[in-house]
Point group: C2
Chain length 342, copies 2
């Protein structure tokens, strides 16, 4: 079917080995021979088969990248960062969308392993993702976790300081007068959810505000989850004055639910969340958020992974905690906020 090294060898009147040497730039090939081989390669439009070389070298020069959703404006920069860094080092990226689904995630991991990727970048769905990562680590397979840590798992890791981010956000809400603050988060099965909840509680404590269990709503951290949880909040007898959602998708659902009830932000309800979104930030600088350095998650993660793959990493696992930025805009009713549109 496709042109092989042997075809080139025949065309150039040399052995396959000589062609291989030319392709890989090994020295010890006569200039004239080299010229003939290169002519043959050109003439036949030969492209080396990296799959076959990979079989021998036991390296695919490919890494796997599993994220819950590329469309999520937090994860798409992660993907870009990881891909760019990997590519610069000569690695390809197999992209997988786990949809935050454990079963899919496990299937992806198995598929990537059977495809013999040299390493795996994983933004895990939740704590139970541990079950499919642990066997890899036992085999010394290079893995770097992104965004979320997994319980009792000693693994390279890039996270951001969720607790401090959440604390900053809630402290800001408190500083502009809110005391009744709802929090939309997940089912207590992700490190990010737990850390942000912790930050929320710390901020309340710090201000001497009592923690109310019924102000913390557990839901799926997507648009529909944010929508439903907000509906629940709005069914309460006594409404909170602010909602803090755990991420950028939940906040979209929350906004929908508020709008359906004819409530406006920040007049009737303050609204803040994790993750800044570029388009929103410019076109509608409105939401007060915690900004995470998303692209850095990807590029730094890829870097750690490549070090691990090349054996430069040493046995100890590395844990990198990125700092977050509080971006104050107008969604809290804060006096310091900039009007939504001028």
């Amino acid at each position: 079917m496709s042109v092989t090294l042997k075809d080139v060898a025949k065309q150039a009147g040399v052995s396959a080995m000589t062609v291989s040497r030319v392709i890989n730039g090994r020295e010890g090939v006569d200039t004239e021979t080299q010229r003939r081989v290169e002519a043959a390669i050109e003439a036949l439009d030969y492209v080396p088969n990296r799959i076959a070389s990979g079989l021998i070298s036991q390296k695919t020069q490919t890494i796997g990248l599993i994220v819950p959703d590329v469309v999520n404006p937090f994860f798409s920069p992660v993907v870009r960062g990881a891909e760019a860094t990997a590519r610069k080092a000569g690695y390809r990226v197999l992209l997988c969308n786990s949809e935050g689904d454990l079963r899919l995630e496990r299937e992806y991991v198995e598929d990537l392993v059977s495809h013999r990727v040299d390493g795996l970048l994983l933004a895990p769905a939740n704590d139970r993702s541990r079950h499919c990562v642990f066997p890899l680590l036992r085999r010394n397979f290079p893995v770097v976790l992104l965004d979320r840590s997994l319980p009792d798992l000693d693994c390279d890791l890039i996270i951001s300081d969720s607790a401090s981010g959440a604390r900053k956000l809630v402290e800001h809400l408190i500083s502009v007068g809110h005391r009744n603050i709802a929090h939309l988060t997940d089912a207590d099965d992700t490190s990010t959810g737990r850390d942000r909840l912790r930050g929320y509680r710390e901020a309340l404590e710090g201000a001497g505000i009592e923690y109310h269990e019924d102000l913390v709503l557990r839901t799926t951290v997507d648009q529909i989850g944010g929508y439903r949880a907000t509906q629940q909040i709005l069914a309460h007898d006594q409404l909170p004055t602010a909602i803090f959602t755990v991420n950028n998708m939940t906040v979209v659902g929350a906004m929908q639910a508020l709008r359906e009830r004819g409530m406006s932000v920040p007049k009737d309800m303050a609204l803040v969340c994790f993750d800044d979104v570029e388009h929103l930030a410019v076109l509608s600088p409105f939401l007060t958020v915690i900004d995470q350095p998303a692209e850095t998650f990807g590029s730094l993660g890829a870097q750690l992974l490549l070090e691990r793959i090349s054996g430069k990493a040493g046995p100890r696992s590395r844990r990198i905690v990125l700092q977050t930025d509080l971006i104050i805009r107008a969604s809290c009713g804060s006096k310091t906020g900039i009007p939504r549109r001028e």
Copy 2:
């Protein structure tokens, strides 16, 4: 290093062939033998090497996907759609970010070919991408183009009806009273740019408005391009009353430039563009846009590609034109502007 089929065979006391049969669910294996093999697989934690099978079958079950930028809210759904569809058919996706750069794009194509992907989904950078696609088609290599067509290239293709979209958008501007409409587009080297410009001109003609060359600004279709081009516009003696930008990134830059000049939308300037952005649509239903079915580009593209790969496609190339939606919001000063979703 890693466990191979031979190791399993030895452990189970059978030949490699028998193990292969069990793995691939071929019949003609004794139930008892099968049990032993499965036990050995389990015991050794064996994962089949798909690279090696690929060498024989001449199929990698992998497709390449090249987009200018995963972070662009138009392309990230394209990626998701393509990945999901490919995956359901048992294909993996190698993701490449060309950054709209021809040289990078060419490198990616060569790399994907040397990695023996079974097919390629390409959202080309511009007309000159033709040079790296044409050789593939000559070799009958499966390719599907996304979003942009390439001149004189007979290739499967998914595009949207850019001309009619642009016409709808500009007709709307005209209908609410604008007659002096600037258009930010690219250097006339993409089909989308040309088609949208054509739609723009058609709408003007239809309304008997003269076409002014100096109202059409050529730029890179990203944020910085939109910013600079808008600055140029604002330096004109006579300002237009509306700006139509060719895509969702350019509009961000345009907005920045307007804001810097203290101009607000739509009071001082109307602003419309191609591509809706989910977060904006809900959190700030403000921009009047042409919405393209981005995810469908990806899923349908993958579907066409898989048909081509499996030989189900027939020799003729297919050209699919997706329809667009005009979503009227508030950025034109239109009296009829209704928020898209309540």
